[in-house]
Symmetry: C2
Subunit: 476 residues, 2 copies
């Protein structure tokens, strides 16, 4: 008997964004959606996925993201139990309208019906009150099935000039009519909006029937509508031909059938360290802290530690964010200046803005423990059953020491048959990979493989790597 | 022809002190005298030695210190060019009177004449104006040769209640008469002292003829005087039998022939982070910073970095001290509370109060790069010609990877002849030391040997070590 999923929506998580507003925790290579914030042990992406799985089935969930985040998305969602082919890959970032259209087109190709509803959520926002969110989703699905394009209106908690607003009016329905989308207002206008009670923040969460959104694209954004009904192999080129526009600008601001479902559920875009502080659990002194923190005197601080002890005396209203390679300290209220600081660091060519101490790869993760002129030390974790590509380095030798699990290591010369060149390396043992030798690392076991890699050489940059396939053809 | 050193004084540096007032830079295992502070590339001990070498000859310089600092003292003073047997070892800390007597007794045994003058200096103070110091030393030697016990009086820069004061009166001599030593006064008294112009801080720098100080000991501190004239092998027991008293209390406050030579030379005891700030060079925004620091807005900060980027926005009058395993942050003016905080951390058994990320040993130094439950990674530097003891570990295997230089490594079984079990390990190569195997590391070369050591095991504490001699007898 066919499983009846007809009342359950599909869900698209938009996870292609990048940004460094929470530097040094967020990096160009580690955007906000992949971070665990505000005392949560789950990342914003994981929490978003879990929130959506609670209103639909995990097999109806897709993540639209860039190829460069594929390993991170996969790593984080596999670890909360998601399975299957849930990533829809954008070949480049083209703003939300093309991203949503790409996701919709892929859903249709994989069996969704035009009558199915779709929930669209950003991957990097917080919602504290999950029950209120689920209640709002139920209302939104009703509104969508009534032919509306639904936007969730975040109940404003203050006159914030950083958000767009939605002007609403009441109707006989359980949802509101969205009268108008308004751009980021000045402070006086924002105050009026909040006092009126008719205005909501535009939080980028949407719900609609596929057929209704396709019609809206055809009417208001026809340049982006050609992707619907395209054959699978042409989806990519249709995506690339769509103008880079937001779904708000391309469709929502122009369509007439827009409903607004109020959402009063502790929403935050966690777009600054001040906002992370506001949304974090606090101790009796109003300190929000994670890590190995010892405080004496003072209060109202946000302190995020990494692997070292942080000792603060008489600190008041400070933001302290420690990472293995960069430390940020600022009074609260100044964290908005971070943008300029990060730009200055980026202009100075600082690695700390782009590279992340923790990196995800299709085979697992690695963390840089120590860097020097002639050496680099990494902790590498390889997922059971995964392996790194066959590769060699011109400038460095590598020493692999197994901390946990078992490694299958292939070391051979160029042109040599790799078969029979495999050795097993167990806990506490090590293996030496000389400069220039082809080598491959693999976890043949059932538990994660942890190794310490010590690179020694006259150059230890990440770009000294040549990957080859088993026929010794270069693959990069 | 005999070298005429008759007019040059001997010098005793007192370097046995410990303390954590500059935590986390100073640790129980790394007291202040071994730190480079206030933008100086030399440590306080090195700077003290260089200052004294400028007024005498380095072969007349001795350092009185505890056995536990012997490797650090040796390492730091060899690196500024000192040679020979300059360390006089205290078997335990017994305050300054026994320490000075021990130094004097050793000088007499190594050929000093009772008519020779001796300069005594703490190892952990700063003196900015070296020329004024040298000028004061010239006056002090004159006063000593006139039969006085000379104390240097630090010209007070403020009504500080943390120092003892010396009341002086003028004489026809180029030096002053010390009328009275007074204990740490209250603030009102300190203000009166400073305004009067007759009072000086007692900075613990002394100058005297050996014969005069021996007489003073015999008269005022006879329990500590038995060491003079004792045979070499009995020096240690005489030292241990002397009461634990300061030279001020034991002798200076009681003797009548005390001269005071004013010292107006930018002296500081650098006894707090505020004091380090005051004595550090500053930029246009009055920030004193060392390390990889990026500041935007604010000013008047003391920021001491280690190996990571520190980025501060709108920081005002803050103290930030970063080390590999501990970070301290406080507003200026609160740094005196550090004592209580360090005590609390110590009571909680925190390693960060006792252990230092950098440790010195007779054979060189090591630095902990990374610690985990099952692994510890160190960077080890072995001085040319030095070797570590033959040893083994019960719980861990060790992997040595040579970054620079060449290592001679012995690995053998218990009871086995070590000869012929040596291998040479060159740059980029590694060697594996299994659990339980006897091993020894040696630098046979002419340049420092740098290695990365990766320890893997179920226990990686420093105390899992058994040292043996070449006949396989345990030596520890």
């Amino acid at each position: 008997m066919e499983k009846d999923l007809s009342q359950k929506p599909y869900a698209l998580i938009l996870a292609g964004g990048s940004g460094t507003r929470l530097w040094p925790l967020s990096r160009e290579e580690m955007p906000k959606q992949f971070l665990a914030l505000c005392g949560d042990e789950k990342t914003l992406l994981q929490r978003t996925a879990l929130r959506l799985i609670a209103v639909t089935d995990s097999e109806r969930l897709r993540v639209v993201s860039s190829g460069k985040w594929k390993a991170l998305v996969s790593h984080q969602l596999l670890s909360i139990g998601m399975r299957g082919d849930f990533i829809i890959e954008e070949s480049e970032g083209r703003n939300t309208a093309p991203a949503i259209a790409l996701g919709m087109a892929q859903l249709l190709l994989s069996g969704a019906s035009p009558d199915d509803t779709v929930l669209v959520c950003p991957s990097d926002h917080m919602i504290m009150d999950e029950e209120n969110f689920r209640q709002a989703v139920r209302v939104a699905i009703g509104a969508a099935n009534d032919g509306n394009l639904v936007t969730f209106g975040i109940k404003p908690t203050k006159a914030d000039t950083g958000f767009g607003y939605i002007k609403t009016s009441h109707n006989t329905t359980p949802w509101l009519v969205a009268e108008e989308f308004v751009e980021k207002p000045d402070l006086a206008t924002a105050k009026n909006y909040v006092e009126s009670g008719d205005y909501y923040w535009n939080g980028g969460i949407f719900c609609f029937r596929l057929s209704d959104m396709i019609s809206a694209f055809e009417t208001h954004f026809p340049e982006g509508a050609s992707i619907f009904g395209a054959e699978r192999e042409h989806i990519g080129s249709h995506f690339l031909s769509a103008p880079k526009q937001s779904i708000d600008y391309a469709v929502m601001e122009k369509a007439r059938n827009i409903a607004c479902v109020p959402l009063d559920a502790g929403w935050s875009d966690v777009g600054s360290w001040d906002s992370v502080y506001e949304n974090s659990p606090k101790d009796k002194k109003n300190n929000a802290s994670t890590g190995d923190i010892f405080l004496s005197g003072g209060g109202d601080n946000l302190i995020i530690g990494s692997d070292r002890l942080i000792c603060g005396v008489d600190l008041d209203s400070m933001i302290i964010v420690d990472t293995p390679d960069a430390l940020f300290i600022s009074p609260k209220g100044s964290s908005q200046k971070l943008r300029d600081v990060v730009k200055a660091l980026s202009d100075a060519g600082r690695d700390e803005v782009t590279e992340s101490p923790m990196s995800a790869r299709p085979w697992g993760t690695y963390r840089v423990l120590s860097k020097g002129d002639r050496q680099k030390i990494k902790k590498i974790e390889v997922v059971p059953g995964k392996r790194l590509s066959l590769q060699y380095h011109v400038h460095r030798s590598e020493h692999w020491i197994v901390v946990k699990g078992v490694a299958r290591v292939t070391i051979c010369d160029h042109g040599e048959n790799t078969q029979g060149k495999e050795i097993f390396v167990h806990e506490g043992e090590s293996v030496f990979v000389p400069k220039g030798k082809l080598h491959r690392l693999e976890n043949p076991g059932k538990i994660p493989l942890e190794i310490i890699e010590v690179q020694i050489g006259e150059y230890v940059g990440e770009d000294d790597i040549e990957r080859v396939d088993d026929d010794f053809r270069r693959t990069s």
